[in-house]
Symmetry: C2
Subunit: 460 residues, 2 copies
């Protein structure tokens, strides 16, 4: 496959070099190798034939127009922090990295709108709008190094979602370069607007398969007031589940409602000596408004919480949340890890964790579960040995069993990480044949040569 | 055009009659005439050749499959309360009314999800979920008689949007019958989910041009606490504008933030003798949390409010809001009316009202403005004489001037009513040539014969 495309790529790279400023088209193998994959595990990837690093929309358009003319696949890349392999490269493709387009173009305080380029680091945007007393809620785990463009491409989530929603809920409009190089503007700057189809939402979460986003207009919200942080430990998993359903069902809208299962708690204890103890089956971490603290405490206690601690001090709150932040680092110490991302109805969160405990027990594997209990979005993390083929196979089997369990419980194969190469085989199980047909029809309409992320979620 | 299609229609109606239960296919001219148009003014319409009233998804599928086979256009219709002519019929088409599919199929209290058929009246759904302590926020002006299906097709808004967002923000998934009769399921029941393209949002607001929605899965929120209601009057329009920008800019998120201009206030005074007086240039109506009352009052006063009254009593609050509810009825008494719907950045609300005052003065016409100041979505209402062709022409010219002013101020041609027949000529001015091309490509992919609402927003 790679060989068959070599001529096209050589001609394409030559055309790109002559059309673009020096330093835009990179073929140094040491550099291209570093653009081979995102942070997913067990996904295929090859170094790309070239890396393109445009500085503006016109250059992105030139890249796509020439790639289209030469029939060369293009893989869009933000920070490479994705977890589904959507940004993984192939040898017959070029990677287009947006990291040079990293300007915050405008912050409109009165209308609460920010206009940004895709390469802006999410944490940088959050800091920039905070100086204006505003808040950009989406906070994926990679917030410190992921980009807005990648967040938009995957419709990224995070811990704030339980109150504020996901990335797509904050995208008012965008500029997108289509597969043939045409520049499309979608959406608007106003809060409301129904002129035409919601193309903005069609591109959000499309994982680079329909076009490349070159500018995003984002809705901001007022900075939230001070939060209260609670930690509750449970000796029975089902008790934690009752607390989650109780809090959500009571109409409390927490700013954060996270869960750690037994395996994760033990790993965190081993790493940071937090003294949770061996009897803890689950930990809940909650941020909420001061007015809701009493109710959250009562609901946790009546569900059977063993210990509950809370604070309205920001520094102490951050310390309580340390257990959540250390979840993945703690599990990483146990071996190689395969991080899953499924979402189920909130009422099924502990059913899913129980199912995963069964899967782990039957396979004789370690699987830690943590995640966003308040919206049913969990991250089961399978520990395995990447050097042992049978361990890799067992990890994949466990991963598949978890995804199947999520679907069985009325959930989805991915809550926020995306499909990419990792779960493209699962997509039709969730969407069904008509859904797949419509997906392919939309893809074929916007990218008839199938050049944008061709090995991604809608690979042929 | 109508004549050329007659044979196709006769054959199609015969095929529909033989495939569907008695009472589903109606050709009685007295009945079909009542399905000619929605509540828009100055839009074309003809009685349809037949009205189809299916009872379930399978029957909707049969309708579309047979219409597709015979090449007959199909116009979907909810309650006919639309204001853009999207549900207006043509003589060569059949109207498919969803009003018999009006069941609330499920209310899941813990996961805060409702599953409904499209014909459910929006107010009925709101009442049904209220008994479970839950809230379905979207509240278009027609809430008492419009349907969820119509709300989804137009992405309807209302007064709650300033805090909660629009209909699309509450649609988790749907069942849609495609132009050829295939049944597509989109989205999911979970709060988060990124498996594949966001087809749900593609169909929301597509005004019956891409498919017919036969089931909707809706997100619900906890019932809100008691609200405080304020009314503030201003002797200068610009003062009201400063109050709006001040309230929004201060980070207050009101449950409602409505404005009435001088013309509307006078009309309301004439109808209901509310004694606003001749000096009032604008009225703001605000609902907010009790904790925000003091700040809203101060911001209104410092912006120059002449009078401010507030109450935490629900009955008194409803009385204060009476002026808003009477806005359109009061303007209707002045003559025939052409209701516009544009949206601008919040900071431009009073610039738009001032521009409209100029348009009215120059044309010697009466134009009342009221609407959702908190999200910049206004409803300028042009008063004219429908029996006088020159008055009709002047009304159309004023309407066009208003829409152009909204675009000039960074806004959109429609905030919540939709494009339909009324504004299809404006769509390309907002979307541009690439935007129109992509819209047509998506339309052609899903409806290659152009049979669904062919005279709607994307008429050929």
């Amino acid at each position: 496959m790679t060989t068959a495309h070599d001529t096209r790529i050589d001609a394409c790279v030559a055309a790109l070099r002559s059309a673009l400023p020096a330093g835009t088209v990179i073929t140094d193998p040491d550099v291209t190798a570093s653009y081979t994959r995102d942070q997913s595990r067990l996904t295929d990837a090859e170094p790309p034939a070239a890396v393109l690093i445009p500085r503006n929309t016109a250059e992105v358009s030139t890249c796509l127009r020439l790639a289209c003319e030469h029939g060369v696949p293009v893989i869009a890349r933000g920070a490479g922090s994705g977890l589904s392999g959507a940004a993984n490269a192939s040898g017959n493709a070029v990677v287009l990295s947006l990291h040079r387009m990293n300007a915050v173009l405008e912050i409109d305080e009165i209308n609460r709108v920010a206009v940004v380029q895709p390469g802006v680091i999410t944490a940088d945007l959050r800091a920039a709008v905070a100086t204006a007393g505003l808040f950009y809620p989406p906070d994926p785990g990679s917030v410190a190094f992921c980009t807005i463009g990648g967040n938009v491409a995957t419709n990224a989530g995070g811990m704030c979602c339980v109150r504020y929603g996901v990335t797509g809920d904050f995208v008012l409009g965008m500029e997108v370069v289509l597969a043939d190089g045409r520049v499309l503007r979608t959406g608007r700057r106003t809060v409301k607007g129904v002129a035409g189809y919601d193309l903005t939402r069609l591109f959000v979460g499309s994982e680079g398969t329909l076009g490349i986003v070159t500018e995003v207009t984002l809705r901001l919200v007022p900075a939230p007031g001070p939060a209260h942080t609670l930690i509750a430990t449970f000796s029975q998993l089902a008790d934690a589940g009752r607390a989650v359903s109780g809090i959500v069902g009571a109409g409390v809208v927490p700013g954060m409602l996270e869960i750690l299962d037994r395996t994760t708690v033990r790993a965190v204890d081993a790493l940071a000596h937090m003294d949770f103890g061996a009897d803890v089956a689950a930990v809940l971490l909650v941020q909420c408004d001061t007015g809701d603290v009493e109710q959250v405490t009562e609901l946790s206690a009546s569900a059977g919480a063993v210990d509950i601690a809370d604070t309205d001090d920001a520094t102490e709150g951050a310390m309580l949340l340390e257990a959540r932040r250390l979840a993945l680092p703690a599990l990483e110490r146990l071996g190689d890890w395969l991080l899953d991302d499924v979402c189920v109805p909130v009422s099924a969160v502990t059913d899913l964790i129980a199912a995963i405990e069964n899967i782990a027990a039957q396979a004789g594997m370690t699987i830690g579960v943590f995640g966003h209990a308040g919206d049913g979005n969990l991250h089961p993390t399978v520990i395995f040995d990447d050097t042992d083929p049978s361990s890799r196979a067992a990890a994949t089997a466990a991963f598949d069993a978890i995804t199947a369990a999520a679907l069985r419980l009325g959930g989805t194969i991915t809550g926020e990480h995306g499909v990419g190469r990792l779960k493209r085989g699962w997509l039709q199980r969730e969407l069904g044949p008509v859904g797949m047909d419509v997906h392919r029809a939309v893809k074929n309409t916007l990218d008839p040569q199938h050049l944008l992320c061709p090995e991604g979620m809608l690979s042929r």
